[in-house]
């Protein structure tokens, strides 16, 4: 059972990729990419998790600083991951809008020809 969380992240990455392969609409493909990226969040967070009531890595007067907390470094990396994911989605959606305007379709299968 100790690999269960890791397998969930692998499943999300593959499921998202499968969605991109099967996609019939560019916006759908962008959403599938977000699903695949969600797998990386799950992977990072599960690497940092600790059993036995470990707290969030935020301390104060009630929770004195100690190392019985989940890993803050992977949490910070997840934050970076989410920001990059959001910016990539924004750029791809902007591209999808332009492609739809220029080619009159957003179906990746009908975009076989390259035009200058």
């Amino acid at each position: 059972m100790h690999v269960y969380a890791y397998l969930v992240s692998g499943y999300l990455i593959l499921a998202g990729s499968y969605g991109i392969v099967r996609s019939r609409h560019l916006v759908h493909a962008v959403v599938c990419l977000s699903v695949a990226q969600a797998g990386t969040y799950v992977l990072l967070i599960s690497i940092g998790y600790q059993h036995g009531g470990a707290t969030a890595p935020v301390f104060g007067s009630t929770t004195k600083p100690n190392t019985h907390a989940v890993d803050p470094v992977v949490q910070a990396m997840t934050l970076t991951d989410i920001v990059v994911s959001a910016t990539v989605s924004a750029l791809l959606l902007a591209l999808a809008i332009q492609i739809n305007k220029r080619q009159g379709t957003a179906d990746p299968d009908e975009l076989a020809t390259l035009r200058g």
Partner: protein, 246 residues
Amino acid sequence: MTRLTRLLVFALGGGVVAVAFILAASGMPHFGTTHHLYRDLSVPASVQHHTANVVSAVNFDQRAVDTLGEESILIASVIGAAALLRPSEDETERLVPEQGRTLEATRLVGYVMLPVTLVLGIDVVAHGGTTPGGGFQGGVVLATGLHLLYVGGSYSALDRLRPVTSFEIADGAGAAAFALLGLLGLVSTGAFLGNFLPYGVLGQILSTGTVQVLSGIVGVEVVGGMVVLLSSFFEQELAVRPRDDD
């Protein structure tokens, strides 16, 4: 490439990835292990710099240069999307009169939640060093909170509340200020983005030195970037029309 060949190629590649991933996962440290090397290093480093929120300490102190890179990615993406979405030569920009109506309940919730969300966003940015949150999270809350005015009101109301030009400036100024603070740190401490402000008592809002300042700067940049980004998408949907429509 037909859909079938593409599926076959994916089945082959995906299968290999799946097997490799399962092998890698079974060799990894157990889920929930007590052995976290990075945690054991970063928590004392954060406490030493009087930062209660270790995630913020990692982002704005221990790995602050990475955050500068992340900020640059954000601003590059905003510039890219804005460039892609600006009206081309054969298009005009004209706000079409809005149709449809908003439910009274939606309008009420929009107007009630607008100030609440803005205050919450400012709170999340302002306490980035001490409680969960920080510039990125609070910035997103603020930027999306502004758009409650569109949900509850109208696009023209939103347009009056958020002059896009000033948010464009905020986006750029935020990115520049982050780099400038890094240079100030370089001059006064000898390390780029080094902390040159006094520390306070752990857990208090101004205890964290530059962490809180950098968090606020990132908050400004994220608000600017998100508003510019969303406004380009809005304009595309509501205002940009082919020229021959006239």
